[in-house]
Symmetry: D2
């Protein structure tokens, strides 16, 4: 039984608290947050204790921490928690600064503690089934990957300004999905983008619509499409052409009802929004963490994976600015 | 090259004229109709001659006739055409009277000429593919068949009155589909029905919504559902449960465009109406006729098939009236 | 907060225990079972106490009981629990004997306590959405209902023998679904059936494949199709033709992945089996019970609904035996 | 009635001969080909005459010519036919050389004769319905376009060598589709590509898998994906995200049969290959040409459209070689 503390008590922390509590191998024992009320409320709901982060890290009975605080605190908390001997599951992204994340990785490596980054979409039953089919050779060798990832509506511009930009905030999930499926780093990263959804996003220095093309050493190609607005809902699809076929992970729908009238044949919209769509993924992610940490096995998503995705976001941002493809190795510094 | 005359120059005759003309093995040489203008117009369009039916039947250079006249003339024309040595493709139904159709069959048998009844749906690419999959054993042994057959809108009540009723006019196609797939006559026929779409249809002595259940000697079951009104279009589906799976022939759609908006995910309606939906079936039906007649092979649909479907319609009408299942053998007189 | 005891500790009881525990308005306090070990194990898992049924019913602090024992104990436990002042949610069917169920209803009525029957499918998000669309008038007036309900594989013949037969054990869910959607009792019930899946089921006096047709006073028609075997999984669909359109609740699938290869375009199978497919329905059912009991509102499914479905099963069994339609009012005794 | 001559008697010429013959407003009167036998055979089949190209162009009774010869003869024949006063429908591409095509355009302009380029996909019922929905404002303003266009199998390397390369031979259809939907030229063209399907294609100096990204002046983006091999068939899809929704034109399927077994739920493959998939498009294209020429209206696809698509192919080839985006205006020379 893993004793777990949750750092952060916001919306996504609530999702993780449920996953921790319903997993038979873990127990939520403590919650911390800069907002003491929020910590107290979340702790009470799950029979845990609200404590200061320092006290949590100093408590030897706590085996693992789940970091669900704001991004600017991630690197620091990862370092402190691993130094205190805890296993860590940290929400994405590791950091907005690639250099800072790489420094964090060095510090973590010296502790030998396991750190997993919360790329929950790898655990989505649909994407996981697509990957499993690929790994079983059901479509031969991968050739051309397409990732479609549209949010229902853009966040407030105030959020955009501190988000690190579309590539680090939103497309980072898709960079990790590309890494998950292609199982290799790209050679080049090319980005185009615009603020066609909302000029205010452009005025804030970001884009709301973007396409990134990745090339790989063996000739494979990947394309990622992002938009901050799809009025019909949360559009999350992956499509992979292989030498012997095509795999498509399509949207989950709110229900299976189809209505035929003189207006056409109408079905339900995609499941809205990430909390609903990816709830099974959050549970499966946590279960994978508990299983690996309990068994002492390698984690399925590592800090290196978090850094790779961050470096791809960095490369995409550079490509957008320069108008030219960027060599990924130069950005990653390898 | 088969020289063909077309008896009838109405809407369905036009469909057949196209099929005859575009088939490389047949040539439309003559057209007759009680409306001389209609015959002349259709003949001109395809480079054929408008002639009297008598003259056509007397012309030894004409190999085959396609009968697309009103139902009450079918039996008579089949008898005269076969007596004159022609091969015949006759539109369904053979007749509204089972006894008359059976008498016609006797007359035809004595001539030895081939007569095919126009159950075009057997040649629909979807239903034909379903049957082929069944015959290849892809779902094991058939167990439970469902046929859904809804028209977009009811015909005028004036037509209803002379149509022979829903079972003989509309469901007769589905009875033949059941025979095509099950490849055996039913043991019992049970019908329920109502005029819920339009009470005027009930006042005319007919139903507009009906369900017929068929049982078979080996325990198989079939259900046929008919409605005279499906506002979303022409709904033509077949579904067959077998010991090793399920086969479904779904609707053809007007196009493949799907639109996702805040109102939902909307696709096109079913292809509207039988002329559009079944155009490939009419061509394939004619091609099968030409091929069989040219080769001297057995026809894929026979006069016996026409009589079997008519007898099932008769049985359904009796069952609806009596409120009880009807033994099919009693109706067929075998 | 509703204090709840669970009578029964088998597989379905485990499902209910989860629903009771995760609902914020209810708490599982006690479990009883004739198998003391099973009761103890289930109680421990959810922090409840294993107790004797008698002690549970005598405990005034317990507000409600959920009856998930074997069918032959249902009527008795419903009577005892309501006499003890408890609110009751009882698994379907009420009883295998219509007379016994009707006697139970009389006894319950005198206590004034609320009793809900566990027709969980009414709470399936898909069927519930279909009903909501109908109630909103989205397809006009209902005309022709089709329910397809196939199990993946037949149960052991030993189970068949004590099950009460396909109509009371399996189709009873579909009878209730018809009542839910049509909102009226049928006028006639006609059944056909066979043991084409497994002759041993026929030898045990039951059928494994059946079609029941229901007629309604206003001309509406319903068809229910059951098979004990659909090798591709649990097939649960509802389709309703109305005056202004068609509603279809289709199967839920295991995932959304589609694979295209030279063999065709292949998607996932239906969610397997009722525990997986209907898990959201069990939770929603319990939430509806808690909400209604807590507020003192009318229950969404009543003991009368349980009796109506049982009477339809009885009518179907009589129709199958006699080979004729059965007047429902005669069976229900109204 | 338009008197039409067909220049060329190969496979695609046969398709056009059917379209010309079945259109009520046109008549096929002559066929020419460097292979006299082929011309004679095709002419005989449709009751036309095999003649020399020169004689055809000199015959004042011929109103229009359809050019379906090899690409290297297109510009020359367009110039000669328009100089002879004919209306022209010419198969794509206009030419492999952009400069030559532009010179052809100048020559044609001086004749004032109408020239249409055979981008038949604009007339595909699905893509046409997508465009119509966009034009009606059904998804608001276009933002992000994706075109998926995969051939079932690569052509022989010998063909690849003379084809002009993937961009001019295959993706040129998709460039025109982008122009059709976006209704504006791109600002930049960026290409990546590889010969992952067959290294022999790479050795021949071409790619078999490519992704091209287009940006537009107003912030819109388009992505085109091409592969020479999709083993499951001919994959032709268009998807457009707009400010108020998404439009998808999906594949047409060989039939509508769905089979559910223990192996999954399997449907038919996409219609195979362009002759089958686009047959309705070829007929609609010809009908549009006949209608416009007969009425003296502007043609729906012009020589300028042919040149724009060719310039985009040229830009993509330059981008692939340089590894950088290319400014489209520089390539087009405007």
């Amino acid at each position: 039984m893993l004793n777990v503390a949750l750092l952060g008590a916001g919306r996504i922390a609530g999702v993780h608290a449920t996953a921790i509590s319903t997993n038979p191998g873990s127990r939520l024992v403590a919650v911390s947050d800069i907002n003491a009320d929020a910590a107290a409320k979340l702790a009470a709901q799950y029979g845990a204790e609200a404590r200061a982060t320092e006290a949590i890290l100093a408590d030897a009975s706590i085996d693992a921490v789940l970091i669900a605080t704001s991004t600017d605190t991630h690197s620091d908390l990862i370092e402190r928690a691993t130094a205190a001997g805890k296993a860590v599951l940290c929400e994405k992204p590791v950091d907005l600064s690639l250099a800072r994340a790489q420094a964090c990785q060095k510090a973590v490596t010296s502790t030998g503690r396991p750190v997993m980054i919360g790329f929950n979409r790898r655990f989505d039953p649909n994407f996981a089934a697509l990957k499993a089919a690929l790994d079983k050779g059901e479509i031969g060798k991968a050739e051309l990957l397409s990732i479609t990832s549209f949010d229902p509506a853009p966040p407030p511009v105030a959020y955009i300004k501190v988000s690190g930009g579309l590539f680090r905030d939103m497309m980072i999930h898709d960079f990790d999905m590309a890494n998950f499926i292609m199982d290799a780093p790209p050679v080049t990263v090319s980005a185009v983008g615009s603020s066609i959804v909302d000029p205010a996003i452009g005025a804030a220095g970001d884009v709301d619509t973007a396409v990134v093309t990745l090339t790989y050493a063996d000739g494979r190609i990947a394309v990622i499409k992002n938009s901050r607005r799809a009025v019909y809902g949360y559009d999350q699809r992956v499509e992979l052409l292989g030498s012997e076929g095509l795999l498509q992970a399509q949207n989950m729908l709110e229900n299976t009802v189809v209505k035929s009238t003189i207006a056409g044949v109408t079905g339900a919209k995609p499941t809205y929004f990430f909390l609903e769509r990816y709830m099974p993924a959050y549970s499966a992610e946590w279960a994978a963490f508990v299983a690996a940490v309990s068994a002492g096995d390698a984690l399925p998503v590592t800090l290196s994976d978090g850094i790779a995705a961050l470096a791809m976001a960095e490369a995409a941002a550079q490509s957008l600015q320069s108008g030219k493809p960027v060599a990924f190795a130069n950005v990653l510094g390898t």
